[in-house]
């Protein structure tokens, strides 16, 4: 075997069967012929099947067999035409490039760029506040076209956005309809329209929209991480009480002794000595006792700042809550594609 390329391509073509699980006998016959490498037979049976009134899935399968068979016979134009028919019937169908020969894949790619279809439209399941968040809408346009996305439902219609482009495109619906109206609960349809010259194509996607109220925040009793500090602190023990009591006794006692009348003779001073002893004892006891708390200026300033910030934060929360009470939260649940509609080539 000098050149194994054609043989390998042939094996790849057959290994990647273009359909599976079809019930129509003609489609089965075409598939069987294709599997037996009877490409002419596969084309004949497939074309007969495409002229029948078959279900869409069988028609798509028949066109794929025809396209694969033409591609295997190197009939590029017929293969592209057959692929285009299959794409029109099932825009989301894609070739598994890892299992199909590059020759067939490239023909499929050429066919795809010659038709205008919208493929794989999807929407996120999400919850957002109208005007602040949004739901992502993604799809693929096979050819450069002007694309417009609209949303319609019970509460009205709104244009989401429009753009000229191709390939993977993404839009975001912020939940508003025309004139800023907010949707009511119900099923809404996202219509994606692509127009290129005389060709146009449209697909739709259904969404279940559930409006709800936006949660409000509670006012704060304290700032997280910023606890208030004690406004008084207990200073360390010191000698002051003892010193004061000693000084008091000394001053009063000294003055009394100094003022005594010499004419009256010196007394025993029992009273002065006794009270001075009691006084000094009280001073010692007071010195050993835990001192009185004193105001802490630093803590007071800190608490004032924390309270000011708490007030500001609560004012901001109140302002936000006022706004939130006017807002609507939407819950979006995609329900799948509704239909596809195209015209032109």
């Amino acid at each position: 075997m000098r050149n194994p390329g054609p043989t390998l391509a042939l094996i790849l073509c057959v290994a990647a069967s273009p359909l599976s699980g079809q019930t129509n006998p003609l489609v089965h016959e075409a598939q069987a012929a294709y599997d037996s490498l009877d490409f002419a037979g596969a084309i004949r049976a497939g074309q007969r099947a495409t002229r029948e009134r078959l279900p869409a899935a069988d028609l798509v399968a028949a066109w794929r067999v025809v396209a694969f068979a033409f591609a295997s016979l190197d009939s590029a134009r017929q293969a592209r035409d057959a692929f285009k028919q299959a794409v029109f019937l099932d825009p989301d169908w894609a070739i598994d490039e890892s299992r199909v020969s590059p020759k067939i894949t490239s023909l499929y790619g050429l066919a795809l760029r010659e038709v205008l279809v919208i493929r794989s439209p999807t929407a996120d399941s999400t919850t957002f506040v109208v005007g602040q968040g949004g739901v992502g809408l993604r799809f693929e346009v096979t050819r450069t076209a002007r694309v417009q996305v609209k949303v319609s439902g019970a509460a009205g219609t709104g244009i989401v956005d429009s753009i000229r482009g191709d390939g993977r495109l993404a839009f975001r619906w912020d939940g508003r309809l025309a004139n800023g109206a907010v949707p009511e609960a119900g099923i809404y349809t996202v219509v994606i329209e692509a127009t290129s010259g005389r060709d146009s194509y449209a697909r739709s996607l259904r969404l279940r929209v559930t409006p709800g109220i936006v949660d409000t925040a509670n006012h704060l009793a304290s700032l997280p991480g910023y606890d208030l500090l004690p406004e008084t602190v207990v200073p360390p023990r010191n000698w002051r009480p003892f010193g004061l009591s000693l000084l008091t006794s000394a001053v009063a006692g000294g003055a009394a002794l100094a003022l005594e009348s010499g004419q009256l003779g010196g007394g025993p001073h029992r009273e002065l000595a006794g009270i001075s002893a009691v006084s000094i004892g009280i001073g010692v006891l007071s010195m050993l006792r835990k001192p009185a708390p004193v105001p802490s200026e630093a803590n007071l300033r800190y608490n004032r700042i924390v309270r000011d910030n708490l007030s500001r934060e609560n004012a901001r929360i109140a302002f936000d809550n006022e706004n939130r009470r006017r807002q609507v939260r939407l819950t979006i649940a995609p329900l799948g594609s509704a239909s596809a509609d195209g015209s032109g080539r």
Partner: protein
């Protein structure tokens, strides 16, 4: 005389305390050294004393009453007669700044028998400092000028001086405390008949007891 004064004070005290003011009641044991004219008239006395104080804002009114029995000291003349002293001291105080107050008042001392010692009536004006030592412990120092003295035995006094200090100690700012205070009083009495002969009066009184702050 003392009983009606105390009753009036108590009646005044109840609404004062209820309005958030402070009422202080003290009952104390007292000991005193009393001297008159010379060392031959020296007496030791013991007895009891009571005090009522009502404080409202910067104002304080205090009444102190005491009853002491005096006997002569060992150095006194043998004919010095024992006597009973009853004293009532009424004082009004006004706090000027921080811990400093000005006080005015009057003191009256009765002696039984009246020949044994001099009964006295005197007015006083002075300054007082009250300061805290610790939570539940306070100290006070006072000094006063005595004037307008009259005596049961005649004579006159141009001036007199009163000194004193006191402390109290308890578990809390309000409630029961122990209290101790000391008063020194000297009046320069002189005879007014013939030559003016100095016959001074001097007393040192210590009181220790229980104070209740409401």
């Amino acid at each position: 005389m003392k009983t009606p004064a105390l009753a009036v004070s108590m009646l005044l005290a109840v609404p004062a305390a209820a309005a958030g003011q402070q009422l202080r009641l003290a009952i104390m044991g007292a000991g005193s050294d009393y001297r008159e004219q010379s060392a031959s008239l020296a007496f030791d006395g013991t007895g009891g004393a009571g005090r009522v104080e009502i404080a409202a804002g910067r104002f304080t009114v205090a009444a102190t009453g005491s009853r002491l029995s005096f006997v002569r000291t060992a150095t006194a003349a043998v004919d010095a007669e024992p006597f009973v002293w009853k004293e009532l001291d009424l004082t009004g105080r006004f706090r000027l700044v921080s811990i400093v107050s000005v006080e005015v008042g009057a003191m009256r001392r009765w002696i039984e028998p009246d020949r044994a010692a001099q009964a006295v009536r005197v007015a006083k004006v002075g300054l007082r400092a009250d300061y805290p030592l610790a939570p539940g412990a306070d100290a006070g120092l006072r000094a006063g000028y005595l004037t307008g003295a009259t005596f049961s035995g005649g004579g006159a006094a141009k001036a007199g001086l009163a000194l004193g200090f006191g402390l109290s100690y308890g578990a809390k700012r309000r409630g029961p405390r122990i209290t101790a205070d000391y008063d020194f009083l000297r009046i320069n009495r002189e005879t007014t008949i013939g030559n003016r002969i100095p016959v001074p009066i001097q007393s040192s009184t210590a009181r220790v007891g229980l104070l209740l702050i409401l």
